[in-house]
Subunit: 393 residues, 2 copies
Amino acid sequence: MREVAIIGAGMTKFGRHTKRSFADLGAEACRKALDSGNVNYKEIQGAYYGTTGGVGAMHQTLRDIGILGIPISRAENGCATGSTCLREAYISIAAGIFDLVIAMGIEKMYGASMGEVTGAQTAILLDMKSTDLDAKLMSFGAISLPGIFAIMANRHCYKYGTTHEQIAQVAVKNHNNGAKNPYAQFQQQRTLEEIMDPNTPKNDMISTPLTKLQCCPITDGAASVVLASADIAKKFTDTPVYIAASAQVSSAHEFPTDDWLSFEQTRRCAKQAFQMARIEPQDINLGCVHDCFAPAEILHYEDIGWCKKGEGGKMIEEGETELNGRISVNPGGGLLARGHPLGATGIAMTAEIFWQFQNEAGKRQVDKIEYALQQNMGWPAAGLSQLIHIFKR
Amino acid sequence: MREVAIIGAGMTKFGRHTKRSFADLGAEACRKALDSGNVNYKEIQGAYYGTTGGVGAMHQTLRDIGILGIPISRAENGCATGSTCLREAYISIAAGIFDLVIAMGIEKMYGASMGEVTGAQTAILLDMKSTDLDAKLMSFGAISLPGIFAIMANRHCYKYGTTHEQIAQVAVKNHNNGAKNPYAQFQQQRTLEEIMDPNTPKNDMISTPLTKLQCCPITDGAASVVLASADIAKKFTDTPVYIAASAQVSSAHEFPTDDWLSFEQTRRCAKQAFQMARIEPQDINLGCVHDCFAPAEILHYEDIGWCKKGEGGKMIEEGETELNGRISVNPGGGLLARGHPLGATGIAMTAEIFWQFQNEAGKRQVDKIEYALQQNMGWPAAGLSQLIHIFKR
């Protein structure tokens, strides 16, 4: 297998883009990625794109840029669509099929307006065409995604003494990081009180203890990265970011095992990724993890191996994952504040990591990064899928 | 890049399966593929599936079989979804990510009943979530797919003297082949008169000169193949079928260039495929090509290089592509008679080729095969995509 590097990244501001087309959003992200990698569009050999709803988005985008006739593949894997797209692009270069590939994630969720549901619920409604029973049960309200994460939150509090304040602190951190990210959907600092009080303007109680500000929003947006084989990467940039590991675990279990206290898929996926990169969890300085709901981030700390089981609440409370803490987690604002345009989220994580390695992250810059990790999870295209990628200089 | 082989294949009968779930259809196809390749389900390391509508189908299928926790990726590329899935599975083994992979294509189109539209029109309606103008123009009836292929047929008649009878002869051949294939949706021999007369029972005039029997139907079904790295393939079977080439051309042009007389994407894709396999078009003994509408098959003869431009009509009239003619084309009945469950079609082509190489094709067996080719085209996920794979012993 050949080594693969990220050499450029670009994205649109995440938010509400009802008046812009898929191609318009896509072209902005792809052009920025090409420019950032000093890549002429004529050199691109293949394209991978991830979307749950924007069928045709990539070819319309490439046509607008002027790229014609290269192979285009679409990946779809629910909320992990972006990382699945990244992984397939990575594999295609590792195989030797291509040397230079563009990957793009894109979604327009406001266009498919569902009213006052959260992003993750929209995800179900957008994705759901299965006629099978278990899928129907979920989409028809037997239990909603905010409900599932609320149960996990409450189980964690019961079993380990995690507090609602610790859970809400994840949202405080990520909204404060988002306030430093010009690409974020929400760029407003939030206090613990604002996050927890359902009477805060634009807040609400969704599923106790989760207020709306602890749930990811509906988002439109696109993100793109350019990947190159390691042997040509330095032709484009002095500072390529190498993919040290790509791991995926999909499961036939729909939802959390382990008594709703953990995602066993994350644990297995992390183990595979650290083995492939030949490092330990503690070697990571920067993490972009899947904070679709605030308690998810706490579970990921534990399942990735950054702390012991049950100590995730303490980890956030003690500031270990704040910007320039022991491990800077979601410096771009995460799904909670940067937003969660399903297909774009995984690629937006990669873009954030790329910029952090380039020292281009402005007010949210992490000081010292040797290894960065992105963890993205999705449902239901492949059961519950976990994808972890590790990056290094 | 590592060499890759097909070691097993399975499919459901294609047809109307309104009372069967995605997982039920998928499990039948996958179990048959595993059995045919003497593969224990526990050995499968990764899964790729292709569908336009059956989100979640693969993990439900694998759960039913007992396969848990392996990476699952979904590919979607309109009517070329099956071949895109095959290609991504091939690339993953070529890269060295996996040694043993299951690929499945699946679709349930009757569930999404659209009344009396043809399969390809349903494809648009199922696929179409784009809010962009050019996609809308197509789906809202500015011109339908049968209309496009009718224009191409009439242009071909005008320019090259191709006759309506020659075009209809494609449907005669493929329906007669379908009558020999127990997996086919239509297993009824048809005369030229029956095909051409809109008053034949179950026939109709769709878009002159195309009657309904010259258009692919709506279909439910699943098909699966097992792929292995060449170095382990012989552990499972004495007669693996090797992938000699995998080529894809996607285009930003929505539809035929060249004055509506050709698909230039097919020509470029075929050229790439023959270069990769180091053979000439005339070395192919067996072809499964994308006969979504009868005239398409004639265009493909020319664009693949089996005859000169304009001579496709003569080629079908002279019986060169009949079963055991110079090149046996669509011995399984093609999209016209086997049916066209969008995501499953490409994998069904591979399954047919696998069985033909194993001498397991019964009454439709092709006598001597050295090289086989499958050509599958799709729209609109990646513009108009052409995928060609070449297989050898």
